[in-house]
């Protein structure tokens, strides 16, 4: 630092430096984890989409009513637990692309197209990722439920159901057990779509959230559920414990 005549603070590691700023922080991270759990279940003629509404940081509850579900249309939704600021940014990018797509193609985006777009959008930020763990869900062009789940950098897969977020470890095995995902390796290939009737699947999703809310501190307050069928989309809110 010989060439510097006057300076505030110093270079290097502020935490162990004698000239550090009055509020020395050991490091600053551009990321936060705001928690929350998302579930989507695909049926032959329906799709259920659900997400908790608590926004947290560390051991603090920031707010009890913040939606993680981004509705591109009545039949197409993105669920994004993880870092709320990144999730909102991602949603804004996708909203723009969704509108552009309609101008360019004169029809709404299919779930498959949106799923690929979401994968590409995430991978575009491969080396400074959006810290979100998305589910893209809706009805496909045949009117069947479609669910795609992602990691933070865009790897994705279509499946019969998906769980993401802080309550994933608690809910995933329950859905595996109740919805019996067929192994992709069995021959002849089996349909991996849930064969559960709609009302039973909705009850299963509600129970899953109530259970996750009991043990996961980041899941609670309420769960917002969209039930998508070809007749239309219905929204329900189920209150969860606020502790």
């Amino acid at each position: 630092m010989a060439n510097v005549a006057y300076q505030l603070g110093s270079s290097g590691y502020a935490a162990n430096s004698a000239h550090s700023a009055p509020h020395a922080h050991p490091s600053w991270s551009p990321y936060d984890n705001n928690g929350g759990t998302c579930v989507a279940v695909a049926g032959n003629d329906y799709c259920i989409v659900a997400a908790s509404t608590r926004l947290s940081t560390g051991f603090s509850i920031l707010s009890r009513d913040v939606s993680m579900i981004f509705k591109l249309s009545d039949k197409l939704m993105i669920l994004s637990p993880g870092f709320q600021a990144d999730a909102r940014t991602l949603h804004k990018v996708l909203q723009q692309r969704y509108i552009q797509y309609q101008f360019n193609h004169s029809r709404p985006m299919s779930v498959a197209a949106c799923a690929q777009l979401l994968g590409n959008t995430l991978y575009y930020k491969r080396f400074f990722p959006y810290y979100t763990f998305n589910i893209c869900a809706g009805l496909d062009e045949q009117g069947k439920g479609a669910v795609y789940s992602y990691d933070a950098i865009g790897s994705h897969e279509r499946s019969g159901y998906a769980v993401q977020g802080s309550g994933k470890d608690l809910i995933q095995p329950v859905l595996d057990n109740q919805l019996k995902a067929a192994s992709p390796l069995v021959l002849p290939p089996e349909n991996w779509m849930s064969s559960l009737p709609l009302d039973q699947a909705v009850d299963l999703v509600k129970d899953a959230f109530v259970s996750a809310g009991e043990r996961d501190i980041y899941t609670g307050d309420a769960v917002e559920i969209y039930i998508i069928t070809k007749e239309g989309t219905r929204r329900e809110v189920v209150e969860l414990k606020k502790d």
Partner: protein, 242 residues
């Protein structure tokens, strides 16, 4: 540990680009509540330099326009920079001369993008902002952190206030409170912050926004009581502590 790149930069006579990795002059909590006719924000007037009470009359609540006020905690120079950004936007609104002004939600959306963009450059504006306003006859209250995390709620507190004042708000707040009740609640919140947050001074301001417009109070002090038994001898009621 020496960063080799930083060391090389020193030898060649060029310092590496420096970004804010820690704040210098800071403000502490900002509290906010909605009530029947609008929104109230509250904050003290201290600008701390570490543990030094550096600036004792720093006004952390500001008017943006007739329907919007903002409050800030964190790095106060960054807050003053944010105010210049808002000033520019207000000047553009004035020059357009069409009586259209930025709404509270627009200012909230704008600031959330500014703070998110700066964090994405790894050069954050080190603030927690609270935006209060009245839009379409309804109160609006939102907050934004330096990472760009943002949410709106009926009551909000940043920093220490999140731990100290927010539990009081959760117990006592109602959206249909009168101005007197809401002011009373904010006073309670400020008082616990003053008792337990060392970065708080007993000099506060309350800003109000209603359909009538905005007002920011003159600084005032709250009555405090220090002879509680638990304050005089904090260990007496908690076995096993000192």
């Amino acid at each position: 540990m020496v960063d080799p790149k930083a060391a090389a930069a020193v030898h060649s006579g060029h310092d590496p680009i420096k970004h804010t990795t820690s704040p210098y002059v800071t403000g502490t909590s900002v509290l906010g509540v909605t009530y029947r006719d609008g929104v109230l924000l509250a904050a003290d007037t201290l600008g701390s330099y570490g543990s030094t009470k550096r600036y004792k009359s720093f006004e952390r609540l500001c008017k943006v326009n007739d329907q919007t006020i903002i409050g800030a905690g964190g790095e106060l120079s960054d807050f003053q920079y944010i105010l210049t950004l808002l000033e520019e936007l207000s000047n553009e609104d004035f020059c357009a001369d069409d009586d259209a002004k930025l709404s509270p939600k627009e200012i909230y959306a704008y600031l959330s993008r500014v703070l998110y963009n700066r964090r994405s450059k790894m050069d954050p504006l080190w603030n927690s902002l609270v935006v209060g306003g009245v839009q379409d006859g309804k109160p609006f209250l939102g907050t934004i952190t330096m990472l760009g995390v943002h949410y709106s709620d009926d009551h909000i507190a940043t920093g220490f206030g999140q731990m100290l004042a927010r539990p009081l708000f959760r117990e006592r707040h109602r959206p249909d409170m009168s101005e007197e009740e809401a002011t009373q609640l904010l006073h309670e919140g400020l008082r616990v912050c003053y008792y337990r947050d060392k970065q708080t001074t007993n000099k506060f301001q309350i800003a109000k926004v209603t359909t009538e417009g905005t007002t920011i109070s003159e600084p005032f002090a709250l009555e405090t009581k220090w002879d509680y038994k638990a304050f005089v001898n904090p260990g007496a009621l908690a076995m096993g502590t000192w």
